[in-house]
């Protein structure tokens, strides 16, 4: 079996999500990694030391700088001779690109794979994770997006796999990159953080949301948010945890002022330890919490912050 894994990166660094997808890929066969970007040789080098990788394909050209699906998809399709599986992490990048590849190859796609049962059989969550579907694909090429929280990150090794240059393929003249506004943060990346502290509508304002950020910082964690908190402008969109946001599974997830709608639970219920702080003792979040505290968050959060400030002093 010959597996093509599409690396995610920003032209200088390999994104950790690629390492989780690499673990899934290695369960299927011999893995080749594709790095498509511009001036991204360092990424290819980082990919070449992922354990289990046999080869890296490097497509280094201006048309791949911003990872536009219109340009990357035909490139990938030109590399699929004898490829049995095409994988990418189920990030916004993978979600944008993979279905375009699948359709060009006239095959279906299996999204958010959480378990590999065999070469053609996979488990994936449906209905916001309230059911798990075991599906068998009948297609000759299997296109899979990988839920990163379900697979450990692949380790790196000291030897390098060979890097081979490919492309460039055709480019679309009907799409142009305009700009990107990235949230700058010193905090660990949400989907890879060991601790996540998330705030919901209960925080009631953007100023108050700093309490969540303060606690996250004291715990060395990332900041998450419910949809309501993002919609209200308390937190940026890329903080949204849930069915239609990011899926996280940290060692510790602290939900503050979040009711626990199924769409939110879908993004965090696989966390190892869940803490819920809510003044409503009937909030559904308590049904999944390992430790629940029924209290006004404006009392509880400052107390917690003080406890940890003591500890870190």
């Amino acid at each position: 079996m010959s597996v093509l894994l599409i690396a995610e990166h920003d032209n200088s660094q390999l994104r950790p999500a690629t390492l989780n997808a690499a673990t899934a890929a290695a369960q299927l066969g011999e893995v080749t990694v594709l790095v498509a970007g511009r001036d991204c040789a360092t990424v290819a080098e980082a990919a070449s030391v992922i354990d289990g990788i046999t080869k890296v394909l490097l497509a280094d050209a201006e048309i791949y700088e911003h990872g536009l699906a219109e340009n990357v998809a035909p490139l990938v399709c030109g590399l699929t001779n004898s490829v049995t599986h095409i994988l990418a992490p189920a990030t916004t990048m993978g979600k944008n690109l993979l279905p375009r590849i699948a359709a060009l190859l006239d095959v279906g796609q299996i999204s958010d794979v959480i378990e590999i049962k065999g070469q053609d059989t996979f488990v994936r969550p449906i209905y916001a994770g309230n059911a798990l579907a075991c599906v068998r694909t009948l297609d000759p090429v299997k296109v899979l997006s990988v839920r990163t929280t379900a697979f450990d990150a692949a380790v790196t090794r000291s030897s390098f796999a060979p890097v081979e240059k490919v492309g460039p393929g055709p480019a679309s003249d009907r799409v142009a990159f305009v700009s990107r506004q990235l949230t700058v943060s010193e905090r660990p990346e949400l989907t890879a953080a060991r601790v996540v502290v998330s705030g919901g509508r209960g925080l009631a304002s953007q100023e108050n949301f700093h309490l969540v950020e303060r606690l996250a910082d004291l715990l060395g964690g990332a900041v998450g948010a419910s949809r309501a908190a993002v919609d209200s402008g308390y937190a940026p969109n890329d903080c949204q945890v849930g069915q239609t946001g990011k899926v996280v599974a940290p060692e510790l997830y602290v939900a503050v002022g979040i009711s626990g709608a199924i769409q939110h639970l879908a993004g965090m219920k696989d966390s190892k330890v869940i803490v819920a702080i809510n003044k409503d003792d009937e909030a559904p979040i308590f049904q999944v919490a390992d430790y629940g505290l029924v209290e006004d968050l404006f009392t509880a959060l400052p107390q917690l912050i003080e406890e940890f400030e003591k500890g870190s002093a």
């Binding site: 209905y127 994770g129 068998r136 009907r174 990107r180 969109n237």
Partner: protein, 250 residues
């Protein structure tokens, strides 16, 4: 210009779904069905473009059983002009939906196709991207901003790190994210008016397309349930538990 929006009939987002005891799927008997919430956002975006005088016509399409007419009626009541049903009893997977929508695009020749970014039943997040590939059109997925001018669409996209803006030359495919707009409710007078708007029916056979599933559902099971935890009385007790019982903080 003309806009086509795709609307899917799904189990309402408020329903607590149950897995069938024979693991064949999810119980849908007697369950409330609604328009996929992301598709409401797509329809709303289309209606707003009409109201702004940018679009002349908004057509909506759904692929599925006869009951999808209910979903189409909702879209008509929100302000769509015409509706198309591609009727089938077969399970419609994303590639099949994209194939059917492509056939409709070839008949209707819209300048813009709006879809939801994700159907909340299969959670696939594929159809829009697949449609764009089949048509060889540019795609603006997960849109939280959409501006149409001079035959181009400026699309702001929600991505993992923040936001990204692309400029697409029409015709193009755009899939909607939660923050693009707040869909309106269909008012009673509009629901009455919508009854007079046409719903045109066709079948995959008539369209000459193959929409057979590419994937076979072997089983649908319950996810592992979390066992209820303990309640603590104070922040101090919580810290103690996290340190000494759960050992997740130093």
């Amino acid at each position: 210009m003309k806009i086509l929006a795709a609307v899917k009939r799904v189990v309402d987002y408020n329903v607590r779904i149950r897995v069938a005891s024979d693991e064949s799927g999810v119980e849908t008997n007697g369950v409330k069905m609604s328009m996929n919430p992301f598709d409401e956002i797509a329809v709303e975006a289309g209606v707003q473009l009409k109201e702004a005088g940018i679009a002349a016509e908004l057509v909506v399409v759904s692929i599925g059983p006869a009951a999808c007419q209910e979903t189409l009626k909702t879209a008509l009541a929100m302000g769509a002009d015409r509706a198309l049903l591609v009727e089938t009893e077969v399970e419609v997977q994303p590639l099949a939906a994209a194939t059917a929508i492509k056939a409709i695009v070839e008949r209707e020749a819209p300048d813009l196709v709006l879809l939801g970014k994700q159907a909340i039943d299969d959670d696939s997040n594929q159809t829009g991207q697949m449609l764009a590939a089949l048509l060889d059109w540019p795609q603006g997925t997960f849109a939280s901003g959409l501006n149409i001018a001079d035959g181009k669409a400026t699309v702001t996209r929600e991505i993992d790190g923040g936001l990204e803006t692309l400029l697409l030359t029409l015709p193009a495919v755009v899939s909607t994210d939660l923050r693009l707009n707040t869909p309106r409710y269909a008012t009673l007078p509009n629901i009455m008016k919508a009854k007079k708007k046409p719903i045109e029916r066709s079948t995959p056979e008539e369209l000459g397309i193959d929409i057979r599933p590419r994937q076979k559902m072997l089983s649908v099971s319950e996810p592992p349930v979390r066992t209820g935890g303990v309640m603590v009385a104070s922040a101090a007790e919580l810290v103690d538990k996290l340190r000494n019982a759960a050992k997740v903080i130093p």
